[in-house]
Subunit: 173 residues, 3 copies
């Protein structure tokens, strides 16, 4: 990596904190992208040559986006809640990142496999080029719990609901 | 904003990280305030002229505090767990902040609407005056799951429970 | 603490951010250690003279590790998801830290007390010596929900599962 202007040696404290903050931001943007179905935002979380192994899927980022979009279409709502993240910087350009999370999936039908709460971990290799993005992802499934039809409490129409497009408050407030 | 001594232009890296940390701290204090029923702490998360749209409620911060206190009285325990946060700094004084979370509500009665786990997002406009506080909040409800009476596992009396006052360990450890 | 070279007075902004990041890292490592059953990693989260009050247990870190290892053996999977953390630095060497979280426990048997989702808080006193570690922990149990046998959705064998040793992707990706 000599000659490209980015130091690959030890990283100074401020740069390390910035790297960690930028990596967290990518993960948060990933969740917003999936839950709001913002394909452009999703794409921007990965390098063009990234690889994603995600449940039964394994392939390039373009293949992943196409696959996950088909899946998302089956639900009326998803919510990807991120918990602990452990960022291990290996240099100013490369990091190993483990992220714990829970994904809530609700469909308009009662079909059990479409109404699940799932515990997952994203184990990622991040690389910094123009910016920090995912280069390789392995998704691990820890557990899944079925939400029976009668357990979803109906959210009153009078409350503000999330939207799966840019009319969601996340885009305009 | 000229003349008040706070730069409103581009923000330097260290100040950006500090702003983000302070904003996260306000959200964490908000959760502690609600779950421990600490009214003074809750009030300190908002500017005096803040506006909150929260489920069926919409009004000033004073009205919000009065409203949420009546609600909290119906439960014997609430827990507001915060997940992903996406802080978008617009200047050294203003930020858009999206926070994902889960709220667990348990009442002493079996009434279904008082025993719910709810997925929410806080979409906030933060402003920095003396310090960073919420200026405007829109709460979005994503899903809600009813916890049936028999599903709450009784936490043994011998274990340490949370308290809704300053006798909780968060205040004295 | 005079003479040991570590300032105990007011902490500068960059050092405060670093302290907070290091403390968060310890909590994330704690979760990895428990969920992957990595005893060496767990031990490294505590000072040698640390004290842990954890549910029905109260004792030294050595006693705690022995106790929790017996407990972990009863499950086939645990997942400790961390939410809000409030770090209150008291000096460059001491911090009060409250961490919200959810722990998911699943056993191979249907025994109700071994299939629980539990909301907890860790209220910790951290101290910095060579590095930041837990000096005293009080674990608070907020709620617990039983997952009935039929509610665990079987995670297909074809998906990647977490492991309780160093063959987990967190160690090699």
């Amino acid at each position: 990596m000599a000659g490209d202007g980015t130091p690959s040696g030890p990283i100074d404290p401020l740069s390390a904190l910035q790297a960690e903050a930028e990596i967290r931001r990518v993960i948060a943007r990933y969740c917003r992208a999936v839950d709001r179905m913002d394909e452009e935002l999703l794409r921007s979380c990965y390098h063009d040559d990234a690889h994603d192994e995600h449940g039964s899927f394994s392939g390039t980022v373009d293949e992943y986006v196409a696959w996950v979009w088909r899946l998302l279409g089956r639900y009326e709502m998803t919510m990807h809640l991120v918990a602990n993240q452990l960022v291990e910087l290996e240099s100013a350009r490369s990091a190993r990142v483990e992220t714990y999370g829970t994904a809530v999936h609700r469909a308009s039908s009662d079909e059990p496999r479409l109404n699940l709460v799932t515990g997952f971990r994203f184990v990622d290799r991040f690389e910094r080029r123009q910016d920090w993005r995912i280069l390789r992802r392995v998704a691990v499934t820890e557990w899944s719990v079925h939400v029976p039809a009668g357990a979803w409490w109906p959210v009153p129409e009078s409350l503000r609901h999330g939207r799966r497009d840019r009319s969601d408050p996340a885009y305009w407030l």
